[in-house]
Symmetry: D2
Amino acid sequence: MSSTWGKNVNVSIFGESHGQAIGVTINGLPAGFALDMAELQRYMAKRKPGGNLATPRSEDDLPVILSGVFNGKTTGAPLTAVIYNKNTKSGDYENISHCARPGHADYTAYVKYNGANDYRGGGHFSGRLTACIVFAGAVCSQILKSQGIEIFAHISSISDVNDTPFEMVVCDEIKSKLDCDFPVINDLAGQQMKERVKNALEQSDSVGGTVECMATGLPAGIGSPMFDGVENKIASIMFGIPAVKGIEFGAGFESAKMFGSQNNDEFYIDGDVAKTKTNNCGGVLGGITNGMPVTFKVAFKPTPSIAQKQQTIDFKTDQNTTIEVKGRHDPCVVMRATPVVTAATAIAILDLLYEI
Amino acid sequence: MSSTWGKNVNVSIFGESHGQAIGVTINGLPAGFALDMAELQRYMAKRKPGGNLATPRSEDDLPVILSGVFNGKTTGAPLTAVIYNKNTKSGDYENISHCARPGHADYTAYVKYNGANDYRGGGHFSGRLTACIVFAGAVCSQILKSQGIEIFAHISSISDVNDTPFEMVVCDEIKSKLDCDFPVINDLAGQQMKERVKNALEQSDSVGGTVECMATGLPAGIGSPMFDGVENKIASIMFGIPAVKGIEFGAGFESAKMFGSQNNDEFYIDGDVAKTKTNNCGGVLGGITNGMPVTFKVAFKPTPSIAQKQQTIDFKTDQNTTIEVKGRHDPCVVMRATPVVTAATAIAILDLLYEI
Amino acid sequence: MSSTWGKNVNVSIFGESHGQAIGVTINGLPAGFALDMAELQRYMAKRKPGGNLATPRSEDDLPVILSGVFNGKTTGAPLTAVIYNKNTKSGDYENISHCARPGHADYTAYVKYNGANDYRGGGHFSGRLTACIVFAGAVCSQILKSQGIEIFAHISSISDVNDTPFEMVVCDEIKSKLDCDFPVINDLAGQQMKERVKNALEQSDSVGGTVECMATGLPAGIGSPMFDGVENKIASIMFGIPAVKGIEFGAGFESAKMFGSQNNDEFYIDGDVAKTKTNNCGGVLGGITNGMPVTFKVAFKPTPSIAQKQQTIDFKTDQNTTIEVKGRHDPCVVMRATPVVTAATAIAILDLLYEI
Amino acid sequence: MSSTWGKNVNVSIFGESHGQAIGVTINGLPAGFALDMAELQRYMAKRKPGGNLATPRSEDDLPVILSGVFNGKTTGAPLTAVIYNKNTKSGDYENISHCARPGHADYTAYVKYNGANDYRGGGHFSGRLTACIVFAGAVCSQILKSQGIEIFAHISSISDVNDTPFEMVVCDEIKSKLDCDFPVINDLAGQQMKERVKNALEQSDSVGGTVECMATGLPAGIGSPMFDGVENKIASIMFGIPAVKGIEFGAGFESAKMFGSQNNDEFYIDGDVAKTKTNNCGGVLGGITNGMPVTFKVAFKPTPSIAQKQQTIDFKTDQNTTIEVKGRHDPCVVMRATPVVTAATAIAILDLLYEI
């Protein structure tokens, strides 16, 4: 099994990078929810190559809804959308049918599937599949928003450049700043990040980074102890995004260096609402939301596809060899990954909300 | 739902800290496996208060196997073990029935369960429940070991003191060093860590830390793309351990600062085995093992129970108040958490191995 | 995997007939529900050997609640109850460790578990395990009843004797008739059934029968199309009861002989409630309740343990042989199976109710 | 949740009768299996209106494989196929948006989905969706056949006419008889069945019937006790087929009338293979196969769509009214349901086979 996630809201993702189509089926959506299709496309556009530019996009990459929507509203039956693959140049991939690109799943997929996997463009392992997560998450986001729950994310770091972290409230100014294809809070940091990416590209290299995500408006009491908690669920979907290598909630790894007296978030009553003065726990205690924003950070490794010669193996002949990964690749996945993180979060939170 | 984990190997954990018993049912174990009960108890002893001392322990805390074992071998039917709770002083907990200990789940559990949760000693949220994970993981470890798969862990850091990280091979000397109740590779670091813990205790405070874990002997090809990969599974069970706030595989958050040319692990053939020169990916590419050790690090927050006065709320009256958490608490959970991490890893890996 | 059932309400059953204990963990129960323990025992008593007699029972067979109940109310954490096995005479079972009792799982368990299964008394396959279903179902029944949902069952047939079927309403007179250990609507039929059982016993034989079950008070709109419908769920749990060989909803197999004009249940408005004039569909259309009682019938094969000489095999030597099943066995399981059917139904319906 | 089934092999079905498309995603298929596309279409053709005629079919109704197949072989990634809906006349369905057709899910779907369901042609509840089960089952059948497992079915009864039941071996003559769109063993019975259908049609009525199914070649030891047994799994998928109202394994309801001495299947050794003289248990003991053919019978109610005036309700106005169901409908679903039964069985058995 591989590509389905969720208990109450379930997404089942299919497709290969150079096959006929990629797509997703969502089970468990409420019936009668009016989808805002324009907003859906805006959300998806942020993940697209080149970002959310003003120029009109080719319609090719738009999802086609096959089921689950009637008269503009969800029917309650499974909602399936597909994105047809076009203009794929599959000839370029003959070498990766037997040579492992370092950092990619070519070798591991070969072993798991006895060589039957569709290796073209990474097949089912391709980052292209994240478009399906974004579609599903965009749908879930609209439902969450109608209940007062919003999810924000920014590029927290690229290479050695860090953005300003979220505070406990996302003001309107920051909201508008994040609504773009290179979302940062600190513009100067954003400039430096872009330089890091540009420099990496010029050196036929790539860079990694982190995304910070925050969900606001969640009531206290969502989640479960032990294995179905907020952190388990979010972590388990987040590692479904290619290149993710780590996740931390609240102060995360930093809290491992703290004293208890520093790390504990003291409670207080604000009006009739329980709040905490700090949010080192990331809004989650014992797997359950405490009413503060749920916050976490996700680490992305640098794009493995680089135009440098690398040592590797031919796994069909078991010989050492070298490889140069050709073609045009993003020198950093973090920008395009940001909407994938918010989308995956939306799916996880809707699933959590629907748990009795 | 809350307290079950796993698809092929499933653990279902029950119990409350001051109830009659805690316990675990394991479904999906192979039939006919001869359990080494002495080894099982040795494994469990590492998690116990005070560590694996030479003095004989009271039998009270030993698991009683109720089902699933016949003539010393697993029957293939569900294996259930319980640990009866004894000598619990429940009177001490009246205050947490309405006052939230900062960093604990008192408030979130109250909200989720409308006040019906067993709050005594943290109830189902208590760290005591990890004894059940350790039992189940100890069983799974024996099965894995019979297939050449071993799992090691050490205290990677406490407060600001770091241990030497794992290398790609765990030599016999290190293996023997890790087989104790304060497993570190660097003895000096170990001494400093103990001082940090002692100092924290003296100041009525606590400290956090990290555990590094490594699984060796896993063949390439285990795991799945997207949502059922090695990382998803391990992360999802790991956040079931109280106080865990982050997880990273391989270079993890560090790889987010790297260039692709640094982070990519180049392949080579060693004899007829594919290996990588470095292991920044933590043995996992595309959710699937590449045959190198699976490595990851887990962040634990400092013990929330500290003997200092803290500001908090009475959630029954919605008033601000203060609390001092009394009783004897570990000033650092990391030592006792180490066997919990290896145990949870064993469960996750056995589940992954049994996936077709 | 084997012995867990349910998505929203999950029961996980463990134990072997002659092991230390049998038991069940229930996940997903609502918190704060006050259990009526006397009613729980009354429910369980109906399944016991000899029926619900007035004589005081030995306490041996009473379930011990280990977790999930605090101050008489459910805590929301997993509820586990165990029944300790006592006075088991395991010596009698040596022969079935290698000889297959016809109609029993001795041979199939041997093959599946490579001979490691606990064969004593049927091990995990024993009808004794149904006590766990009854316990879990008794808990679920109380919750359902608090919401106006009740489940009734009677012995619909034994051998060639049929009881009067349920009508669409269960009047108080019938309710009181069913509240015993031999529940029938028609007393004369009940007498004849008892004779059939007695005769079978005298001839060292056994008889089968059917149980008719009806759940009232379910609102319309519960269930799902395709695979998670009312019928799928109830059927899937019902075949977890040993000796069940068939299930039919509403008119069931009889409707296969009908014309559409006979079988279709015409709707009408009664006050402001939609009803149907007949209930051939058993209260379910498209997997979803229509507001009428959910009705179904379950077929039980005759007890396979009979005191006659039967031809069989020794599966360790692959030789033909004969067997006589000794010991005291119920010549008909249907009486004691009736509360198991209602209990399993209660679990399934609570699970369905909690589906969003 | 609704429309996914299976643990090891998982099918997720989507689509509505008059939406853009229906389709299915299959997770868990082995990689590298060469699909016989011609055989796949032959299998699917049996379910089509009019049966498997010699005349060329319009390509409209053929499934389009979007993913999971590369160079004619399964890739191991999710296999998705869609069938696009064409020439749908949706105008005819306005009345069922508020009037309940007796025997259909119009009312129950309206209640469950608060009126947002796509009611046209029954929407997601339409029998058309069974084409997706047939596609998935046709794929699974090929995999099973490569392992020596075959699944046969015939029309066991229509109205009051019964076909000859299966014996324990399906000879070549019968195999060839069953490979058509009206599979019966006894030709005379087949003729009479066709008359019953014709007569029903002439009287603006419909008839029900039963399908008997048999799976051969399954080794002993497949399945599990309690809730994941062969019977639980097959029953749970079978009630996913619209109009199914009952299922019985082996002698089923008949065994409820038998003595144990009649019903027990005595074992014997045939060469070195354990067999039973009779197969009243339908090849399953304790949820696990015993090596004999797995046999069961499924009851289908008469087609609810009949051209007679029926009393019903307008569920938007809560008024009594009448309805005449117009359009061309099969007066009996059993013929077209036969390949659906074998397909669903193939899915269930492959899932069972892959259970460790």
